[in-house]
């Protein structure tokens, strides 16, 4: 009998034993730090991948806020869908609890990635031929980090600066804010430190999209321009040196003599590599911009969501073909308001009668693209056309390049003109910068009137900036730094009601949306309430 006991005991023991050690102790299919920053890989392949991922934290542009473009929170456009989250910017509902463009976490994620890269890249034993590349990468990581700080600073003002720290769970995470000046200083110092270490422009075809020397200079240019502007430079006197710094920074890009305006405004945004782009958020080819913004009546063979409704205010900003404002030009015909406009108008805005996908856009009341009823449709009589390929006579969309421009040369010219005009008045360089843009636009004549005053020139530059850079996430920040948001975003934004009367069209402006802007608090974003409660050393911005 006893042998049964032994049999059972043996069996049980065997069962226990044979299950041992037949599984991995930890999952060996998971990447760990030593794989990414590989101490045996002399080309640093995965380390490179880690850096590239950091690029994906750059602003993505286009319809990024609940299907809407950031311009729909400015006086350039409104969202076609009612009750879109982006309306919070114009109806006073933005708050520390609710901000549809909260970029706090995204940019600190980018900063962490850059810092991890910088902290660990030294572990990778690059071979001699890779050292140059490695140094480029380090400079790129630092550029990206500076760019992420800029994204934070323009929204929130001063934010906590982390330097090279990679924060851990055991750190004291109640980090106080640095001042705006410290943050700006940090970004500028970084830009200066890396501008020589970055790739020179133009880069090879394969490296297109890398942060280059010009990108660092462009970042500096925009930052200094912002900092010279009324919002940040309240007590500025005439010839304020900050304007000079800004003008010099822009001139530094111009002096590279690498960039020029792309010949055609129409193909500028769908040409991946061109002479104008300095840095863009790189994306695969696709049709998402077309799908999201094509007038709704085209739905069926294509997706046509028509999310963006440009305002009459923006339409009015487009001059006539002769370079004069519509209300000062003989070319303007109130019964036919869309002919003979600035050629950029037709590449920026869908208006009634513009040809698209083999038919004319119909935004008259009851037309295919403004059918009435509850379906999402334009609220202003216009749709956004910019960035799209030319599908005038196609039946469906084909994939297009839709890189989102972060810096392009036209902005540098505009930055320069604005700063130079503020610092020393409308000199010949200012004239040339603006006229170059107007020439490329196709205005005849493109030349500006002679002997403009500084104030007149300021208005022209601001106007040019608005139409040239429409929907490129510039106006939203421009009306803030110029401190004009309280004027242009208070009251009403308008649309054009087009009524078909037989074959005649009757045009009538109407109030499309009520907007409000609460100055001064809305000139900066509130720090997210959740961050304030999690970090008691973080002080909320004034007014919020």
């Amino acid at each position: 009998m006893k042998r049964y006991i032994y049999v059972i005991a043996l069996a049980a023991g065997c069962l226990a034993a044979c299950q041992k050690n037949d599984i991995e102790k930890t999952p060996l299919n998971q990447w760990t730090e030593e794989y990414v920053f590989d101490e045996k890989d002399s080309v640093g392949d995965f380390a490179k991948g880690f850096l590239i991922e950091t690029y994906s934290n750059l602003p993505t542009g286009f319809n990024r806020i609940g299907g809407n473009i950031l311009a729909s929170a400015s006086d350039d456009a409104i969202a076609s869908q009612t009750s879109s989250t982006i309306e919070r910017f114009t109806n006073g509902q933005i708050s520390p609890f609710n901000n549809p463009d909260d970029q706090w976490a995204k940019n600190y994620t980018g900063i962490r990635r850059a810092n991890i890269f910088l902290a660990n890249i030294g572990k990778v034993p690059f071979k001699q031929s890779m050292i140059t590349e490695k140094n480029y990468w380090i400079a790129e990581a630092r550029f990206l980090r500076a760019y992420f700080y800029f994204e934070l600073v323009k929204r929130y003002g001063g934010v906590p600066l982390l330097g090279d720290r990679v924060l851990t769970l055991n750190d004291d995470l109640s980090i106080p804010k640095n001042t705006l000046a410290q943050c700006v200083e940090y970004i500028l110092t970084e830009c200066d430190a890396i501008k020589g270490a970055l790739r020179k422009d133009p880069v090879s075809d394969a490296e297109l999209g890398r942060a280059t020397q010009a990108a660092a200079l462009a970042l500096k240019s925009r930052l200094l321009l912002y900092m010279a502007s009324p919002l940040y430079n309240a007590g500025a006197t005439a010839n304020d040196p900050k304007w000079k710094d800004a003008a010099d920074a822009a001139r530094e890009v111009m002096k590279l003599n690498v960039f020029s305006l792309h010949a055609s405004f129409g193909t500028l945004f769908t040409t991946r590599k061109n002479t104008e782009v300095i840095l863009a958020f790189q994306r695969a080819n696709g049709t998402d911009v077309e799908n999201n913004n094509t007038p709704v009546g085209y739905a069926g063979p294509v997706t046509a969501n028509g999310y963006t409704s440009p305002t009459q205010e923006l339409v009015d900003a487009f001059q006539m073909k002769d370079g004069k404002p519509y209300n000062q030009s003989a070319l303007y015909d109130p019964a036919n308001p869309y002919v003979n406009r600035d050629p950029r108008f037709y590449l920026t805005i869908f208006h009634n009668g513009l040809k698209w996908l083999n038919r004319n856009v119909e935004t008259f009341e009851g037309g295919k693209d403004k059918p009435g009823g509850i379906v999402t449709q334009t609220r202003t009589g216009y749709y956004m056309r910019k960035f799209m390929g030319d599908f005038t006579s196609s039946t469906v969309f084909s994939s297009q390049t839709h890189n989102f421009m972060l810096f392009r040369y036209a902005e540098i010219l505009l930055n320069f003109a604005e700063a130079q005009n503020e610092f020393s008045g409308p000199d010949a360089d200012v004239y040339k910068a603006i006229e170059d843009i107007r020439r490329r636009a196709g205005l005849v004549p493109f030349a500006l009137p002679l002997n403009l005053t500084k104030e007149q020139m300021r208005e022209i530059i601001r106007h040019e900036r608005r139409v040239e850079m429409a929907f490129e996430e510039q106006r939203f920040w421009d009306i803030r730094r110029w401190k004009i948001a309280e004027n242009v975003l208070n009251g009403s934004l308008h649309g054009m009601r087009i009524t078909k009367n037989g074959n005649a069209l009757v045009y009538e402006r109407y109030e499309a949306a009520k907007v409000s802007f609460s100055a001064p608090k809305m000139y900066s974003y509130p720090i997210p309430y959740t961050e304030i409660t999690k970090n008691r050393n973080l002080v909320q911005n004034t007014g919020w």
């Binding site: 049964y4 599984i23 990447w31 609890f97 995470l173 790189q282 509850i374 999690k534």
Partner: protein, 1007 residues
């Protein structure tokens, strides 16, 4: 007969009904006869004054120990081993036959020979199933509750879990989905998800037929579960399947067929009302109306069904009812050396979707289940026995190819589009490209297959030859499950029909008619589970001292997800219990348990529990003085349990593929690497300290039983993200051992069981009351106390306190408002808690009551001469439902959404006094749809959960055709529901397949 029944098992579905009808028809003459047999009179006249007979169960097996009482004389006797008895009895006197576990029978003496068969009752047993074997109820300290096969089978449900609702104190269920194949309830024990054990082995099986289950026991306190180590915190559902018993072969066949229908269907607005209210909402928004008087008229009179459709989607897409059928055949028996229980089960459940003749395939939901079980015990020698349990399940599901049908039903307005255009094409438009009829019938279908096999082998050796009372046992078990699916879906086109100038119609096409996919996805679900266990036990009495000890070591490998490494549990557990004369009881149990998901040096946890009990009724002062108390046991247990709520090797920092980026003129995708969420090298198991105080009592000759348990459980080291998770760190925070939550409550079960002559009856009440409270969760800074989450229930909802509707402009001007929102009369008014004249986050507070949630039920059973009836009422108190979203609010999704009958009671200037709903608006509304107490509804309900009526033919009749017993029955599930919030089923809320009402009929044959 047996062969015939086996054949029936595999009849095609359309034959099932015919078969059932034949059986029912065949029964009518029998039931007519049955009414004649009232009080049974004995036929023979022998020596007057004495009476003899044999008492057996319905299978003819003699019953030992039946009490035979002559009511008139007060004499009584017991039956012997062969079921025989002798007693004095004159004609006209009443004899009472009773045995624990059987229905009591009273018979009038009318002769001198009286043979009877007794029917099993739901009477409680003397033992219950503890974690590793049966225990005596009388000496148990553990907190448990159990239910037996008979009661389980009363509910016409697919999963045994659904049959537990309202039947076990401490266990609560929630049925959140009613779709066949997905309708399992979520069960929790004392507020926490339990661990399921089948025949002593941890595994999550939901598809076990109630007919093959002998009992389900829930274990509730630390003492009863602590031996599970890392899985001991949540309570246990312990399923024991039937085993064969010594005796002649028993065969039981059950056929049943039910009709299922939805308990409630949302009441949507017809097109006319919809359009009218829509216009009103637009006016409220300051916008132009979009429906003209002509439109409204067309909706009203239906004169233009294409241009102005009015489609009752629920009516058009769903059938009023569907069929559910099930067959079970099982047989058991055995001799001295071997015993067996074998069961086969087939179930076929249809869904509610209408189908179309144009398809050669089925697009309705359908769920078919085939189960096979074989449990065999063999005594190899006197001391060595082997037990082999085999189980196999095949579950096949069929689903329409288009998903989200219930979502579309709930959100598509009746006037959205016609089902069909004039030319027969599917209607639709840019906003509605998923015609629901297209979703349900023109999207192809998806088949899902799931297969499960389990096998348990155990050897048990009693070692009485070494030491009396000692045994060892070894168990090896595995189960494996595999799911795959065949995707035969396709896309369909819809067309918007508009009249053109030529007097014809234009059809604008959206999407395309696709061919069917021929995809198959293998491995949609996979699990492998290997378990081995070694056990040694000792159980012996020394005079009045009784000692029992158990040592258990087990290893389990659980593969739950294809490529992942298995969970590797290793547990060493032991228990020791002692009682003195069943009067003073003491038990200690513990486990040392580890899991491979923790760092090497921090892998094993120690979990102890202890309990004591005192049976006061055994004390002489009570025993001698208070005769109506049969049993009164006080017990208490306390212990520390564990729960391995750990992610996938979270202690190491991992990197993963990033989203990638594009460089170069050719936009080459660059593969990237990025950090996964932050590692937590300190992660350890969650723990609980559980206190249980209980009382077991039997009064009045054991007719009244009461069990009450109070528990206070502190769960701590709960895995959660830290509150102060500032995003400046730049990555996702890991779960850390932070949270502390207290659960406390009361479980009560009271049963009264008695008989009036031949009417056996019982009434039973069950209460499971419990609440939980967050003690710590690393809460972030809150400006005001009312904002704090700590101290509230874990399932608390936070929002504004609603204060009715704004009635006038003056009232609005004088009131605080949400920033950026300009209220108008008819909007919801909120309370400004901090008095800053703005309604914002600082005015958010707890909305629900923290009162304990009470689940209660009443169970009633009557048995009278072959008739049996039972009813289960089940309800919940202190329950609240938060309603929101597309199924509650009007014109959601930017005005494309549905509206419902409750919107007719909206606020308008005319109805300001009686309105129950705010003024209507289109799309989202920042003010009215803010999280607030306005949307909190009373979630209390009371259901007639289950009723069963059965009739067992008199044995004399069934014996004539060679059967032991024939029982016909009808039962139902969710028959009536009374709830204050009655627009939807109180459990299935939202746009999902609702809970089903089932009315079921069947027959059970035993031979």
């Amino acid at each position: 007969m047996k062969r015939y029944l086996k054949k029936v098992m595999y009849l095609k579905p359309r034959h099932e009904l015919l078969f059932l009808q034949l059986i029912c028809l065949g029964l009518i003459p029998f039931s007519g006869l049955a009414q004649n047999s009232s009080v049974r009179k004995t036929q023979e006249t022998l020596l007057s004054g004495t009476l003899k007979g044999i008492i057996s169960d319905i299978y003819g097996e003699p019953l030992f120990g039946v009490t035979v009482l002559n009511k008139s004389k007060g004499e009584h006797t017991l039956t012997d081993r062969s079921g025989k008895y002798t007693i004095t009895g004159e004609p006209g006197e009443i004899l009472v036959f009773s045995l624990n576990g059987y229905l009591t029978k009273e018979v009038e003496v009318a002769g001198q020979n009286l043979n009877l068969s007794l029917t099993e009752s739901t009477q409680t047993e003397k033992t219950f199933n503890s974690l590793y074997g049966p225990r005596k109820k009388s000496t148990s300290i553990q907190s448990y509750a159990d239910i037996y096969s008979r009661e389980l089978a009363q509910s016409p449900t697919v999963s045994y879990l659904n049959a537990l609702t309202g039947r076990l104190p401490g266990l609560t269920t929630l049925q959140a989905n009613g779709e066949p194949g997905n309708d399992f309830v979520g069960a929790s024990i004392r507020g926490v998800a339990p661990q399921i054990l089948v025949n002593g082995i941890p595994r999550d099986l939901t598809s076990i037929d109630p007919e093959e289950i002998e009992s389900i026991t829930i274990l509730k306190d630390a003492l009863s579960t602590v031996m599970l180590g890392q899985r001991s915190s949540g309570g246990v559902i312990l399923i024991k399947t039937k085993q064969g018993e010594i005796g002649k072969q028993k065969v039981s066949f059950t056929a049943q067929r039910g009709i299922q229908s939805s308990t409630t269907i949302p009441k949507t607005l017809d097109a006319y009302n919809y359009a009218s209210l829509f216009n009103e909402a637009l006016r409220n928004d300051g916008k132009a109306e979009i429906y003209t008087q002509a439109d409204l008229q067309a909706y009203k009179d239906g004169s233009d069904p294409i241009g102005h459709p009015n489609v009752d989607w629920y009516d058009e897409i769903l059938k009023p009812s569907s069929i559910f059928s099930r067959y079970n055949l099982n047989t058991s028996g055995g001799g001295n050396n071997a015993r067996y229980f074998v069961s086969v089960d087939y179930l076929n459940q249809d869904g509610l979707y209408k189908t179309s003749d144009e398809n050669s395939y089925n697009t309705n939901v359908n769920y078919k289940r085939y189960l096979l079980r074989s449990n065999i015990d063999v005594d190899i020698t006197k001391n060595l026995s082997v037990n082999l349990n085999l189980f196999g399940a095949i579950e096949n599901g069929n689903y329409p190819g288009g998903g989200g049908i219930y979502g579309a039903l709930a959100t598509t307005p009746n006037n959205a589009y016609p089902i069909f255009n004039s030319n027969g094409s599917l209607g639709g438009n840019n906003d509605f490209q998923n015609n629901i009829w297209g979703l349900s019938t023109r999207s192809g279908y998806t088949l899902s297959y799931n297969r499960t096999i389990t096998a348990d082998l155990s050897l048990k050796r009693t070692l009485d030859d070494v030491l009396k009372g000692l045994f060892v046992k070894a168990t090896l078990s595995f189960n494996t499950g595999l799911g795959d699916a065949t995707n035969r879906t396709k896309t369909f086109a819809v067309y918007k029909q508009t009249p053109n100038a030529a007097g014809e119609y234009d059809y604008q096409k959206f999407k395309v008619d696709g061919v069917q996919n021929a995809g198959s996805s293998t491995n949609t679900a996979q699990n492998k589970n290997l378990y081995s266990e070694f056990q040694a036990g000792f159980d012996r009495s020394f005079q009045k001292h009784h000692v029992s000890a158990l040592l258990n070591g087990n290893i389990q490998n659980v593969y739950v997800n294809g490529p992942n490494l298995p969970l590797d549990y290793k547990t060493l557990a032991s228990s020791f219990s002692y009682d003195y004369d069943e009067k003073y009881m003491f038990e200690v149990a513990m486990s040392y348990s580890g899991l491979n998901r923790y760092l090497d040096n921090n892998r094993y946890g120690y979990f102890p529990a202890v309990g004591v009990a005192w049976n006061i009724s055994k004390e002489n002062f009570l025993k001698e003085n208070v005769s109506w108390i049969n049993n009164l046991k006080l017990r208490a247990s306390y212990g520390k349990t564990g729960n391995a709520n750990i992610g996938y090797f979270v202690y190491d920092q991992y990197y993963t593929d990033g989203v990638g980026y594009y460089f170069g003129t050719s936009a080459t995708f660059a593969y990237t690497k990025t950090e996964s969420s932050l590692a937590n090298p300190n992660a350890t198991w969650e723990k609980a300290r559980k206190l249980n105080i209980g009382l077991d009592a039997d009064f009045f000759n054991n007719t009244f039983n009461l069990t009450v348990d109070y528990y206070k459980n502190r769960f701590y080291d709960l895995m959660q993200q830290r509150g102060k998770s500032a995003s400046i760190i730049g990555n996702t925070y890991p779960l850390e051992n932070i949270g502390i939550t207290d659960y406390r409550g009361l479980d009560l079960q009271a049963t009264y069981r008695n008989h009036i002559n031949n009417l056996n009856y019982f009434v039973s009440a069950i209460i499971s009351a419990g609440s939980n409270k967050v003690i710590d969760q690393d809460e972030v800074f809150r400006e005001y106390d009312w904002m704090k989450r700590t101290g509230q229930s874990g399932s608390q909802t936070f929002g504004y306190l609603a204060d009715g509707f704004f009635q006038t402009i003056e009232e609005i001007n004088a009131s605080p408002k949400i920033a950026g929102y300009n209220p108008v009369p008819g909007d919801i008014k909120y309370r400004d808690l901090n008095g800053d004249q703005i309604i914002n986050e600082f005015d958010v507070t707890a909305l629900r009551s923290n009162k304990p949630m009470v689940y209660y039920s009443f169970n009633l059973g009557i048995n009278y001469k072959g008739f049996d009836f039972s009813a289960l009422l089940q309800g919940a108190r202190n329950r609240t439902i938060y309603v929101s979203g597309t199924t509650e609010w009007e014109f959601q999704n930017n005005g494309l959404g549905q509206a419902f009958e409750h919107h007719l009671n909206r606020w308008t200037p005319a109805t300001a006094g009686t309105a129950t709903y705010p003024r209507l608006t289109v799309g989202s509304n920042v003010n009215n749809q803010a999280s607030s107490s306005f949307w909190l509804r009373n979630g209390n309900y009371l259901r007639l959960k289950n009723v069963e009526l059965g009739y067992t033919l008199p044995g004399s009749l069934s014996h004539k055709i060679g059967l032991s017993s024939i029982r016909v029955f009808a039962n139902g599930l969710n028959l009536l529901t009374q709830s204050e919030f009655d627009r939807v089923d109180p459990e299935t809320i939202g746009s999902i397949y609702p809970a089903q009402r089932v009315i079921n009929m069947g027959i059970n044959i035993k031979f």
